[in-house]
Symmetry: C2
Subunit: 398 residues, 2 copies
């Protein structure tokens, strides 16, 4: 006997709200009648939902549209600044936060370095950042979304394990909720970034998308049927630590052969440094070395063949993993983000070619591998999208 | 702007029917009041749905249960023989069909060899099989479900490509629908098998499951959030043809390095034959050689170290793929089926150990890799489950 899914009237109501909100976000300005037509909801249901949204300040009338015979219909839209969202990225080396509106526009940013802090010290830094953002917010924001590296249980709001922060089973959402009095949601940074591309990236409509973040670490966020797919324990997309390479390079997770040991910026930087200084001379690359990208790019741009080979090999290893994902999931839209994308077309071509080589041609034919469209605020935006989705019943695709 | 999901009143009704049917299937015999309690539907809605199901002969009253104070409640259940389902497996070398009831019990089987037939000849054979089954069926069955190897677009009801049948863009569902006058559904055989384990396998309740079929070919069926996940073009789970091995063995898909070239029965049989006869003497293994399993098992049971190594290596290669899937999808229940499972514990241990080695420990800790619980009728049962799900609004998990 399996447990029953709860499908309550509440669910139906939320589903209707989400449908109307998406119509407003995607098609607005739009009339009630057109919303009903596009959503297949009755006009009565649409009117009820619109009244509910209007009472919450989430919809506004902006005048009458063209008449199609009868009385000209009143057009509705979501006031993009109706709510302020706080999106935070707990990164390697710093915590960054932004005040974001419902259209994904950032009105204010804050940033604090971690300077090697971890454990409670890092947590206090995060709390300080939040305090600063809350002071700046013009009105009480809708809540707080947080994207952090590590394994995160979004349902429970806990960070199960974030190695560079030394956080283990940290009840982050509950702790920040009691501090701020606001709803707080936490997700893995790659998953948050995927939500950002999906929600605010302006990509061609699709049912799903895989967004792969390739920086010092590697992780994917998977969108399936219009929603962030997180797996049985919120660990979906942890592709950086699957063994794909027959090398004996020790990964920061303690094992060998992980994708991160060859395809991450950290790995590429380490290998390029070894070429430049010899394997014994070079400093062990630290995971939050802010100079890694610039240094690696500089070496790459000198045109050195060995350095070029390291970057291409990194792209190929990633491409193999993309091929596995396409084969397993049959999702056609693959979006690459993160610092490694700075290596440009040669790297991207290596990813594409190897992915194509390792997936079934019939599946691969309709696959598009491209770069993300958002900037360095992507995790903050994704954290805001997570909050928006959960609190407003807005679909990730709105 | 994204297209809007259609969520009509029809959808809500179907959802309610599915909820009530699942309550009946999983918890029955059960009263209307208990159904309402367990589904969070109103008692009026439950009564309406039950009346609708009763009119269709899908629910029966079986007397009164114990009273909890007031009047003793009437208990309801699904009559397991209320509908006959036809499930068909288009396999390599034969087509097999079964008449199945709503509990997954088979009352009749038919089977026809293909003997090398493909194209229209194979199709005629399938039609002949269907005719035989329809003659035997006591009443017009609910419809026909078909599981076939190859890439299948379930939504369109077409076989996009089935290499051993030489079927390309075959409108199988439409063709059989017009022949039989019945609803027809088609899925890939691995996906159908996954549905069978999920629906009738009696596994511990879970949100998702990955079922991997390891026979002459290798393919997975993925259940996510209680439903068969098929991907953007119904190709999800095509893991047999992703490049994971650095060998130059030509796969039947035309490429090299595919998982099937090392982990399938066909590959294992070929390699064992090469050990026995020398690489030049051995006949090229054919994909539907019925003696492959027995021959390979016999060689394996002699205890020959080289043969044992071939089987273990096959298990390890599969285990690596399992590790990738666990890392990417974070699904905890992995079920292995197909002829390779006959190699028993040493092979299964090789799969488990390598999967564990290649996935992040924190993710892998709660992963269970086990064997399937259904017999050789699994694809027929899965095809019947596909039909049942689609036609009755029954969840795959009912």
């Amino acid at each position: 006997m399996r447990s029953l899914t709860k499908a309550t009237h509440q669910d139906t109501r939320e589903h209707n709200v989400r449908l109307v909100m998406r119509a407003l976000a995607g098609l607005g300005p739009i009339s009630r009648a057109d919303i009903a037509r596009r959503t297949d909801l009755t006009r009565t249901t649409v009117s009820d939902v619109v009244n509910q949204l209007a009472a919450a300040g989430l919809v506004q009338e902006i005048g009458r549209g063209p008449s199609s015979g009868g009385k000209a219909p009143i057009l509705l839209q979501i006031p993009r600044d109706a709510r302020q969202l706080i999106g935070v990225h707990v990164g390697e080396g710093q915590v960054r936060g932004a005040i974001v509106n419902l259209a994904g526009e950032i009105s204010h940013r804050e940033q604090l370095t971690l300077e090697g802090r971890d454990g409670d010290d890092a947590l206090h830094r995060l709390e300080e950042l939040l305090d600063r953002l809350l002071v700046v917010a013009a009105q009480p924001p809708l809540g707080v979304g947080i994207g952090t590296s590590g394994l995160v249980d979004t349902n429970a709001g806990t960070v199960r394990w974030a190695v560079h922060l030394d956080w283990r089973d940290l009840h982050l959402a509950a702790r920040l909720r009691s501090r701020t009095g606001l709803p707080v949601y936490v997700a893995n940074d790659s998953q948050a970034a995927a939500l950002a591309e999906w929600t605010f990236g302006g990509h061609t409509p699709a049912r799903g998308m895989i967004v792969i973040k390739v920086g010092n670490g590697i992780g994917a966020g998977i969108i399936i049927d219009d929603r962030l797919y997180q797996g049985d324990s919120s660990g979906a997309g942890e592709i950086g630590h699957v063994s794909v390479v027959a090398n004996d390079v020790r990964c920061r997770c303690g094992r060998t052969g992980c994708l991160e040991t060859i395809a991450s910026l950290r790995a590429v930087d380490g290998r390029i440094q070894a070429v430049a200084h010899g394997p014994d001379e070079r400093p062990e690359p630290s995971s939050n070395d802010p100079g890694a990208l610039e240094r690696s790019l500089d070496a790459y741009l000198t045109g050195d063949e060995q350095v070029r080979g390291i970057v291409i090999e990194a792209g190929r290893a990633l491409g193999r993993m993309v091929g596995y994902l396409v084969g397993a999931l049959d999702i056609h839209d693959i979006v690459l983000i993160g610092s490694m994308t700075a290596f440009g077309d040669p790297w991207l071509d290596a990813v594409r070619n190897e992915a194509q080589r390792s997936a079934l041609p019939l599946l691969f034919d309709s696959t598009r591998i491209g770069l993300g469209r958002l900037g360095s605020d992507i995790v903050e935006l994704g954290a805001a999208a997570l909050l928006m989705t959960a609190e407003l019943g807005l679909s990730q695709a709105a």
